[in-house]
Structures are given as C-alpha cells and as structure tokens.
C-alpha cells in the first residue's frame, strides 16, 4: 500500500487517483462544523471580528495546515493524571456538512487533503482541482481501530467548542484512508450516486 508523509507536495497530490488506498504519516489537525464556520467567518469572509486567542490560533494554524490535512473528526479523548491527552476513539464524521466551507478553507490555508466519510460535493471537488488537493475517505465507525494510528496528541485549540468540535493537533502513523475524490475531477461519490439513481429509476417503474 502507498505510504505518504505529511506535509504533502503538489506532485504527490496530483499522482493520487480515485480508488487508491493510502497510509498517512505525520501531523494533521481535526476540524469539523464549529471549526469550519469559525475559520470562514473570522479569517476568510471576515464577517466576525477575531476575539480572545483567535488571532494567535490563526497564525499557528497557518503553519500547521500548510501542505497538511484536515480531519473531520470529533474524538473521544482521555486525559491522564499528567494532563496528557490520548485518543480512544477517532473515526471520521460525515463530511458533506462542510461543503459550503471546505474549498475556501483548502485554498486559504493550502490544505492538501481532507479526511472524512461520505464524500463531498461539486464545490469541494473543484477546490481539489484548484488547490490542488484530494479527499481521503476513512472508514466510518471504525473509531477504536483508527485511534490506534494516532500516536500522540500534540495540542488542542478551541477547546471551548467542546471536545468533539475542538481542533486537535495529532501525530499519526499509517493512518488508513482511500482516495475517493482526486485533483483531476474524479469522484467515486458522484459515480455511485448516478449509478444507484439509474437502478432506483428502474426499480420505481417495476410493479409491486
């Protein structure tokens, strides 16, 4: 299986094709609904002024996300007696909710990959071509298994969003994913959506 280390170069991204299984190693950041809304409103569309530690977090995220990957995940996290965090369960959440934001976040921070489940739509697919970037599909629900590839929690931002919505900076090794949207306009999700629609249309015409 192909092994890729983050940060990822444009050449490597362009060499990835739909259907390819990949093991990811390096540092990535989790971010889901609250994080995407916050990034868009505060730093990209600037409809909301930065508050509290926003500006400081932004500067750090710019470095962390450049060439790296955002993981749509709201983990179960344990904190030991020394205050160290550990991921116990960390599967992907449904990505399509970030469809309004994802392409802009990818371009703004030069994010090379988005990990989630269920795939994303046309706007993100276009974002994948332009950035360039890819969508990596992780196995939904396989949370204990995936948590094993999270070797270390390096830090956390925006814990005030709640444990699931906070942005966790994690070091992963051999994190298993499959490319389902590539930088060339290929989307496994669009293909399955349309083939299943054809079968549905046929089934709807059949008598009861």
């Amino acid at each position: 299986m192909r092994e890729i280390t983050m940060p990822i170069s444009d050449d490597v991204i362009r060499s990835l094709k739909v259907g390819e299984p990949v093991l990811l190693t390096g540092v990535m950041v989790t971010g889901r609904d609250a994080a995407h809304k916050w990034m868009i409103e505060t730093f990209i569309k600037k409809t909301r002024p930065p508050q509290g530690d926003d500006e400081k977090v932004y500067q750090e995220l710019k470095k962390l996300l450049n060439g790296s990957v955002i993981y749509h995940c709201g983990p179960v996290v344990a904190k030991d007696e020394n205050g160290e965090y550990k991921f116990l369960a960390a599967g992907p959440t449904t990505s399509i909710r970030e469809e309004p934001y994802q392409a802009d976040v990818m371009k703004h921070f030069n994010v090379k990959g988005v990990i989630g489940k269920g795939g994303m739509g046309a706007k993100t697919l276009k974002g994948c071509q332009e950035t360039p970037g890819v969508y990596f599909h992780a196995i939904g629900g396989a949370a204990s298994f995936i948590a094993q590839s999270v070797k270390k929690v390096l830090g956390v931002y925006k814990l005030e969003f709640g444990t699931p919505e906070a942005m966790w900076v994690i070091e992963v090794k051999d994190f298993p994913v499959v490319v389902t949207m590539d930088a060339h306009g290929g989307s496994q999700h669009a293909v399955i959506d349309s083939s299943s629609q054809e079968v549905l249309d046929k089934l709807l015409r059949e008598p009861y």
Binding site: G118, F161, V178, H189, S195, L200, L203, L204, P207
Partner: protein, 291 residues
C-alpha cells in the same frame, strides 16, 4: 428500590463497546460477498477489526456515541422518577469513564454540557409500566448523528416518486431514502420504517423497531415480505459499504404499521448505521442479566 446506577453504567459500557452478535454475524457474512482487494471489502475488514478491538479494550466502537435512547419496562410499584435519576447519573459517570463522548449540545447557545445531560430529553428515556411480577428491563440504543441525519419522512402521496398511499408507495419512498443516504449513514445500514401515525409518533416508532434483533420479521406476512424485498432491492442499488460501491448496502429492514388520520399517510425511515449499538439488561430481584 435497589439503586442500579452501577449496573446501568455497565449497560452503557457494553452498548458502546460491544456490538451485538446478530449484527456482527451479518457483517462478517457481508465480507465474503465483496471482491478481494476491493475498497468495499477493505472497509468491511476494517469494520470487523474495529469490532474486536473495541470489545477487547472497552473503547467506543464509534467516536460518535450517539443519542442515548433508553426504553424502560418497570414493574408496577417501581418509581419511574427514581429510575430516571439513576439513568442520568449513570450517563454522566459513563461519560467521565470515556464510554461515551460528551454529546449534548445546547442548540440555542451552542454549548456542550460535557456530561451527556441536556435538559429533560437528553438522554431520551421512554417508560412503560408492566405487571408487578414481571422483571425490570432497560434497553439502550446509541444512534449516531451521521445515520440520524439521513433519516427521512415522507407524506404520501409523493408525486415525484409516483408513490401512492399503499405498500407499493411505501416501497418506493423507502428505496428513495436509501439512495439519497448513499454511504453517509455509514452503510451497510439497517432500516427502521414506520407507516402511519402523526409526524412525531411515526419517527419514534421507526426507531423502536430497531430494538428487535436482526432477522426477526413482522408477524404480518405482507409486511414481512416487504421487509425482505426492501433489503434485497436496496442491495441492488450497489451503494455498498461506506458508499464505495458493492454488494451490501442494507443488512436488514424492519417495518411497523400504526394508526393514522384519514388525512395523513406518513412513512418514516430511520437509518441505523452498521455500528448498530443496542443492549438490554433484565433485573429480577438481586439478579442482573445483560443481553
């Protein structure tokens, strides 16, 4: 009345980390149906590994430990109010022990309570009184947000799908719901369908049928036939595990029929993800049994 807080914490641990055998068996059977080396097969193999690992380490099968939905049958003479307090206490404690992710978010102020207690309705608890000589049973289902989001309710007739107010129409809207869900509800899924009711009862009953084991059929032969047909036809859609394309999209379908108003004909489809977490505890005197 015995305090059952610790026993309920154990129920929560088992539900979150130990998938029922009937579900696991169906998923294992599904692995063999996918082509070696395919993404669908890889997904199912990962799922099987995850099931074993969660059970071994008592860690959540899925990080989204879902909406906790309790169904309690309590013998006459027990206090529903005290049972509610014990369930809520157990839920907060199980969250501290990381069997549950803090999942209750105030929808107006966007604040996570941190302990899975949010107002009177989170966790969701349904009480039913039984005769005094019956045991106390507490069932728990954990239903994740991904699959909850792809549930659908249809008001028939539905012109676009050509679905009228009969079982033929029910079949059409149910298949539409499966196609629209794609892989987003963590396929392969289980369908809970209720026909009739008002909008509220219809959705509640579509989840309640999911307390039954996989493979149990409705006593009405017409509905039993439709259950099997919907599972088979959903699989023809080819959506497959995780929506990667493949043979298994739905592993079982359960249907229930309710009363309806002459004016209304609702069909609710609750989609349960493969991480079909439901467990039961039965209390007879001092003895507690888990299933």
């Amino acid at each position: 009345m015995k305090d059952l807080t610790n026993e309920i914490i154990e129920l929560i641990r088992r539900t979150s980390s130990n998938l029922p055998k009937d579900v696991e068996d169906r998923l294992r059977a599904a692995v063999e149906k996918e082509a070696p080396g395919s993404a669908a097969r890889g997904a199912l193999e990962t799922i099987m590994k995850n099931i074993e690992l969660s059970r071994k380490n008592s860690t959540p099968i899925c990080q989204d430990t879902g909406t906790p939905i309790f169904r309690v049958h309590y013998p006459e003479g027990w206090s529903a109010r005290k049972l509610r307090e014990q369930i809520r206490g157990a839920m907060a404690e199980a969250t501290k022990k990381n069997f549950m992710r803090p999942n209750a978010v105030d929808a107006v102020y966007d604040k996570n309570t941190g302990n899975n207690l949010g107002g009177d309705d989170f966790p969701s608890i349904h009480f039913e009184e039984v005769d005094a000589d019956q045991p106390l049973t507490i069932e728990l289902m954990l239903k994740g947000g991904g699959c909850e989001n792809v549930g659908r309710q249809y008001s028939l007739p539905h012109n676009e799908l050509g679905a009228g107010r009969d079982l033929a129409g029910v079949r059409k809207v149910a298949l539409d719901a499966v196609q629209k869900a794609q892989g987003q509800g963590c396929a392969p899924g289980i369908l809970g369908i209720s026909i009739g009711g008002d909008r509220g009862t219809s959705y509640i009953k579509s989840k309640e049928v999911l307390y039954d084991k996989i493979g149990t059929r409705n006593a009405d032969p017409e509905l039993a036939k439709l259950e099997e047909r919907l599972t088979e036809e959903s699989n023809q859609l080819g959506i497959g595990p995780m929506g990667f394309g493949g043979q298994t999209t739905v592993i079982d379908t359960k249907i229930t029929g309710l009363s309806r108003l002459p004016a209304s004909y609702f069909v609710s489809v609750s989609y349960m993800c493969w991480a079909y977490r439901r467990r039961k505890m039965v209390v007879r005197g001092e003895e507690v049994e888990y299933d």
